[in-house]
């Protein structure tokens, strides 16, 4: 019986990184969960990004190997409005993606997630995205890295943005572009704990986002064939293993039913008090592993009786 692969995004330890833990310690906390996949943010976790020293790269590989892990996704940004007076061209966007593809390859990653600048409150990516990605596809194929834009609240699955990405996959026929699902789109209760750097201005302007866009888990059926990687966004799991915002009890069975066997990469985005993320990530792994085991046990019985 195939199953989920478990990973951790070092984004989970935002604000801890550089105040109470360094990169190696963050990797050790991730490994201690039993996770085998490690996700990073290029601009955050790679010293001297985009050109780390050879010594840094060697140490990266040595640490990952020592911990028995492997690199999954490296987050990338295409800062379209790069100055107040200049917006990136398709060529410049492609250069950013190709730079990150090369760095990701050097570090052993299988995916990169470019986050494009947007043009409206629907988070419609700047129109250069299509041309920029198109120009980078050959390099992605050559390095065997898949480019994955993130489907992130408030953008749901059934939405022109997501449909635009699917259209691109279908038209190009590429195997090196897909979708990453951020499980924040399934959030179905208002946020009580949030670590995404909210300000009063944003809180006033973005209430529906904070209440959760509650995408039905069934909508995964539409796109799962394009989803090789999932960011397991969450905000608070209490000591009874109850997640206050994300419906894992519906999401896990749906992913199992769809035979998803990629990574679930923990992306904790809750209270940013020091060290809290370490325990929160552990609780999420415990919770999802329990739900997966329950599903597997139920199915083993079905099969036995069938």
């Amino acid at each position: 019986m195939s199953g989920f692969q478990y990973g951790v995004s070092l984004y989970s330890y935002t604000d801890d990184f550089g105040t109470v833990m360094d990169l190696e310690e963050a990797l050790e906390h991730a490994a201690d969960t039993g996770a085998t996949g490690i996700e990073i943010l290029g601009e955050t976790h790679v010293a001297a990004y985009p050109e780390p020293s050879s010594a840094w790269v060697d140490h990266w590989h040595a640490t990952i190997d020592r911990l028995g892990m492997r690199p999954t996704n490296m987050a990338s940004w295409v800062d379209t409005r790069v100055t107040l007076t200049h917006t990136m061209t398709e060529e410049e966007g492609a250069a950013q993606i190709m730079q990150d593809l090369r760095l990701a390859h050097r570090l052993g990653f299988a995916f990169i997630r470019p986050k494009f600048g947007v043009v409206d409150e629907e988070l419609t990516p700047h129109p250069i995205w299509r041309g920029a990605v198109a120009r980078a596809l050959d390099l992605a194929a050559q390095l065997d890295i898949v480019i994955l834009p993130e489907i992130h609240a408030p953008t749901p699955i059934r939405h022109p943005v997501t449909e635009g990405y699917v259209d691109f996959i279908q038209k190009t026929g590429t195997k090196h572009f897909g979708l990453m699902i951020d499980t924040g789109i399934f959030q179905d209760r208002p946020l009580t704990h949030w670590g995404g750097g909210i300000t009063d201005e944003i809180r006033k302007g973005a209430l529906s986002f904070l209440n959760g866009i509650a995408v039905p888990v069934e909508h995964l059926i539409d796109v799962i064939q394009y989803v090789p990687f999932i960011q397991a966004k969450f905000h608070h799991i209490d000591e009874t293993l109850h997640d206050h915002h994300i419906p894992w009890d519906r999401l896990v069975p749906m992913l199992k039913k769809l035979n998803y066997n990629g990574f679930l990469s923990s992306e904790y985005e809750g209270e940013r008090a020091p060290w809290v993320a370490i325990e929160q990530v552990r609780r999420q792994h415990c919770l999802i592993r329990k739900l997966e085991a329950e599903y597997d046990a139920a199915h083993a019985q079905e099969n036995a009786h069938g």
């Binding site: 109470v20 833990m21 360094d22 310690e25 050790e28 906390h29 201690d32 969960t33 039993g34 000591e239 009874t240 293993l241 020091p274 060290w275 370490i278 325990e279 552990r282 609780r283 792994h285 415990c286 592993r289 329990k290």
Partner: protein, 133 residues
């Protein structure tokens, strides 16, 4: 670096011997302000939920070496340094169930420079930590 609490989140896990779960371990930050000779640690009790696992059966894994309760009492040369974590190994056949546990530890420390009536000093911590599987 270590978590500020004495009890650490990472490191909490069941421990196996030849395929059988024989107990669990809890990771602790050294709770004193100076390096502790092991002989100054008079015991480390661990409580999980309602069950207390007394110091006499527990052992300390420090820098790759295991010290039983009796060995610690005579170990005057080895110190548990400040800022360093060590794992308390607790015998418990079958281990603990995966889930969040209410864990408490009590360290009994002897500070020779404290008056006799304050010997040993009890250092306590209690928090929720998680056995993942």
């Amino acid at each position: 670096m270590a978590e500020r609490t004495t009890i650490q989140s990472s490191g909490f896990a069941n421990v196996s011997h030849e395929g059988t779960i024989t107990g669990f371990r809890v990771r602790l930050r050294q709770p004193n302000y100076r390096g502790l000779r092991l002989s100054l640690i008079e015991g480390i009790d661990v409580t999980v939920g309602d069950t207390t696992y007394p110091a006499e059966s527990n052992c300390l894994m420090l820098d790759g070496a295991a010290y039983t309760h009796a060995q610690m009492a005579e170990e005057i040369a080895t110190r548990w340094p400040v800022g360093v974590c060590a794992d308390v190994h607790v015998p418990a056949p079958g281990g603990l169930q995966p889930g969040v546990h209410d864990v408490a530890v009590t360290l009994r420390l002897r500070h020779p420079y404290f008056p006799p009536q304050f010997q040993p000093v009890f250092v306590r911590d209690q928090r929720h930590i998680t056995i993942i599987r």
